[in-house]
Subunit: 352 residues, 4 copies
Amino acid sequence: MSAKKTVGILGASGYTGAELVRLLLRHPRVELALLTADRRAGQAMGDVFPQFAPYDLPKLVSIDSVDWAKASLDLVFCALPHATTQKVLKDLLAKSPTTKVVDLSADFRLDDPAAYAKWYGHEHHALELQKEAVYGLVEVYRREIKKARLVANPGCYTTCAQLPLVPLLKAKAIEPDEIVIDAKSGMTGAGRSAKEEMLFSEVSEGFHAYGVGHHRHMAELDQEFSKAAGKEVLVSFTPHLLPMNRGIFSTIYVRGRRGKTAQDLHDILVKQYEKEPFVYVLPFGKTPQSRHVRGSNMTFIGVANDRIPGRAIIVSTLDNLTKGASGQAVQNMNLVLGFPETTGIDQPALFP
Amino acid sequence: MSAKKTVGILGASGYTGAELVRLLLRHPRVELALLTADRRAGQAMGDVFPQFAPYDLPKLVSIDSVDWAKASLDLVFCALPHATTQKVLKDLLAKSPTTKVVDLSADFRLDDPAAYAKWYGHEHHALELQKEAVYGLVEVYRREIKKARLVANPGCYTTCAQLPLVPLLKAKAIEPDEIVIDAKSGMTGAGRSAKEEMLFSEVSEGFHAYGVGHHRHMAELDQEFSKAAGKEVLVSFTPHLLPMNRGIFSTIYVRGRRGKTAQDLHDILVKQYEKEPFVYVLPFGKTPQSRHVRGSNMTFIGVANDRIPGRAIIVSTLDNLTKGASGQAVQNMNLVLGFPETTGIDQPALFP
Amino acid sequence: MSAKKTVGILGASGYTGAELVRLLLRHPRVELALLTADRRAGQAMGDVFPQFAPYDLPKLVSIDSVDWAKASLDLVFCALPHATTQKVLKDLLAKSPTTKVVDLSADFRLDDPAAYAKWYGHEHHALELQKEAVYGLVEVYRREIKKARLVANPGCYTTCAQLPLVPLLKAKAIEPDEIVIDAKSGMTGAGRSAKEEMLFSEVSEGFHAYGVGHHRHMAELDQEFSKAAGKEVLVSFTPHLLPMNRGIFSTIYVRGRRGKTAQDLHDILVKQYEKEPFVYVLPFGKTPQSRHVRGSNMTFIGVANDRIPGRAIIVSTLDNLTKGASGQAVQNMNLVLGFPETTGIDQPALFP
Amino acid sequence: MSAKKTVGILGASGYTGAELVRLLLRHPRVELALLTADRRAGQAMGDVFPQFAPYDLPKLVSIDSVDWAKASLDLVFCALPHATTQKVLKDLLAKSPTTKVVDLSADFRLDDPAAYAKWYGHEHHALELQKEAVYGLVEVYRREIKKARLVANPGCYTTCAQLPLVPLLKAKAIEPDEIVIDAKSGMTGAGRSAKEEMLFSEVSEGFHAYGVGHHRHMAELDQEFSKAAGKEVLVSFTPHLLPMNRGIFSTIYVRGRRGKTAQDLHDILVKQYEKEPFVYVLPFGKTPQSRHVRGSNMTFIGVANDRIPGRAIIVSTLDNLTKGASGQAVQNMNLVLGFPETTGIDQPALFP
């Protein structure tokens, strides 16, 4: 076997960073050569995430201390906050143009600078890179990703909604103006920052919606759904927080178009995904549970009849940290670096 | 003060039974004179629910052992399984016709015997009583309940959906054919029977839908929504199970009718409920959390703009064991026995 | 009935503050006249704890803005952080000497200024008040509390351990040098401050110890156990955090003294507590569950044989926010203001 | 690479069965050739555990339908209930004597038939096999396991307690008569049978002890601790149930012998385990969290000073389904079949 490729993780002290380390520690083709975490620079990864204490890993360093040219990494995962990302990657790619990047932030997901400016409240700082970036939903853009230098890894909510809906919109099988997505996320989706509303006692034993009517993920959905449908699509989308760690679960209400039944929609999805390693469509009428994809890179999709004639209920679920973030990022890395797509991310779910 | 009224609970070993005991133990106007639990007959209530061990309560007895005429109870709460209920109440009211009944099962909620037979798979066994029964959604049927002998206490999912939607349908403010109710329930809603799928390890750290497209609660919704709208209404309704004990949370997607905006819908609800002790409408644009009604008899309702013009998102939440079952049952009892409506059920929520 | 007494809560935006509001909102003898919360001054209580939004409550104000003489409160609950408390109460009692105080901090629990200085790292700022303060473990110091102006409400861990152990130490029934207390607390015991280690995802689905070998609560245990035993007592005490909101649970390992068996220890506790309204001793050999005291002011205690001859295992559990903090504080208020001791705190537990 | 070995799992529909499938699906040296589950015979593994639906696995069959001679499996994992195990394995090994067995039940853990009869209430049905069986705590009996045909995989509680205590007892570094083990387990330790006391709503948001003074696991502890100490050892041991899925956590109170300090105990454990792949000893004074070993085969151990001179507090934690059951079983299989010991079980923990 050829020498391992060297990879780095920028922002290793967050949950997606830790999930990348979990998956890459046993990945047979890469070596973790760099871990950054500005506020924890100088510490061991095991100080920040004690599960890694027994393993050999590079010390955490600050981004500013890295000499990108010298580091000459084969690939970098960027798990930094929004906006910071643009600046860091601009600098990195200027100094080490052959390094590939899989970016887990939202910074390079929107094609349209105007859409970006509208949702994020400021001009994009790296427009050239934004043009170059490829949207990393593998099941849709696999061919483009293989050739990309910069991959914009999709969001967790949006991956969960796109995998069932993009093929149906492309097939013009559902009414694009009557889509309701009721989405629920585990708490890791909210990240690791210390906020009162994310304390255990504020979140356990209860349920609530947030960002009702104006969540940023909508921009990404609008873009991809509109592309798929060939016309502007706006969906109703409400995110909620579940008292659990991992999992996105979307209950999607659609109306079949031109006589398409729920069974027809199911057929389209079964056919679309029968050879995909990370999407599993349940038998018609059955719906999945989020716990059965926990820790895996799988998306489980179910389709059932609504009792209202002409309507269907679609359920889609994935682990927000794996297929919804770091697992999909490794899937993208595998494509970009020319490895078999499932390398290192083919573990079954951890249940119970 | 006049002598206390005597009340009994049939089916005291389930969760709604325990919740009734919790609320009635400190109710100043009634005395718990009878507790039945067939499989636990002979045991103390504290053997079945240890939280009650320190209190003086009647022993559990079997229903068959009760002499209804002699017991001569002022009121009975019936928390028995479906179908059994019909037989027991028929017998009870034959022998003790002056006893009032608040029934927590689904047996007397449907006016139409054909609807009952369709959803439950058999003829109703007590048609005369069904005719007499009054549907116990207090905020809608208060006047009728005051005069009733037999009150059919509404279901938890349906109470949560009706409180926001009935006034809007009555006002013809929303399109009755485009209502989507995405409902989530805590695990106590599934009762206390020992089933594999309700084990802690099967339910925690995950989320799933059930009864997709064909849940029995729909019959009750159909009936009440159709009455409110003055025409047949079918809604999309999907129930889910949350990894938590208490709480129903409904995210409801509606379209305003004849130009009605989300703000208009909010105005209608604020006006409707401003004097109701157990319904609180949040300021426009805010949505509630289920944990903030835990253990209380409150329903919290929020209304927000959907970003799709003409559409609104309504969120409604209550505690399935309190306002969704036993608390509302006590509220009904208070009306039936002539007590102030809030007696014994005016505690604020237990949070955190 | 005479006019209601006026009470205030200093530090109403924390969990013990909210629990006080929950209990006092329906207390028939007092009126909540003042709520302070420095960082949330100007807001409504319902902004900070939405469960209170439907109720009439005073606005939150800053402590500095209060004129104590003019406010002339009958009683103040102080739920402020350590050290701040001393300064605030010194000022308050100087300006309004007839106001009674129930303090929920640790500031006035230690008799010995040297012990205070050792555990807290600085001199006590209100030594005169410390002398005056009465330790508020009602079941031990009821008589003194009735006459007190300043009551130091005990800690949650220590209440849970003292209720079973103080009578046994007083009776010289157990070896004072061989006591091991393995204590577990729900997350609300850690308060409401936004710290990474208290985030939902850091705490759920796991268990850990903290402060191993050096937890501050030990000072309070040392003091009270030594008083009870009539000699210096040091116990092994390890606190842990449970992935749940409410509850303290102590598993206590003891050796009987002079032939005393586990059954003998049980007899002592049964006799000690048979008339106490808030302590329930289970039948010999049975042990309690924390969930069965949730939201109530009860302590449940069980005693069982260890299989090692001469040793016993004692289990004690209470709700850390109720009997472990705010419930006991109201119990103290009832004594101080001359109300029946159980007023407003006699609700059964909320389970499930 | 040589051909894969064929392995079977008896009792694949329980949690330890599922955990074996999770680990073996990606094990590079074995092929899952047989899965039994009597009550689910005829179904797919994906019907019983939906996380496996996307994978190719043999159908579930009943044990009676298996022809052991013909199946000629290289190794069988037995995850059957107590007592049944003895009968099944007697039959299996009679018909296929070269098949190796790793048994996850308690049936072959006790050397002494009298101890077995005392704790389990009946004579052992396979005394010859019991003599042959090797106790499978790898870190203690590695050499013997490599040559074994029948390995008795240790219990979860006992593995967690033995890994820290056996080396200390062997070194005569702690008083064998003053050991207190306060043990806590996640709910999967209680298995998958449908019992009321294991329902979500009975278990969440609370904590309790069980089997106080008489838990069966004590027999296994007695045996191994007595062997290690060279004299009879009885420990105080109390198991509790945690409101979470996975994890055993033991807080262990010991007294150093002959002047041994906590630091000395730490030194012994560090030295003992520095080369072990699945035991990690934290720096002195630090204690681990159960969540940081979730889903991994690691045991994390911490040692700290008690404040009582001469005493130490030891904390040990592992995942009850992995190192406490199925992971350790695979570790045993690796030894028995001559594979590198860490094959297929070296994934880092899944946190958060």
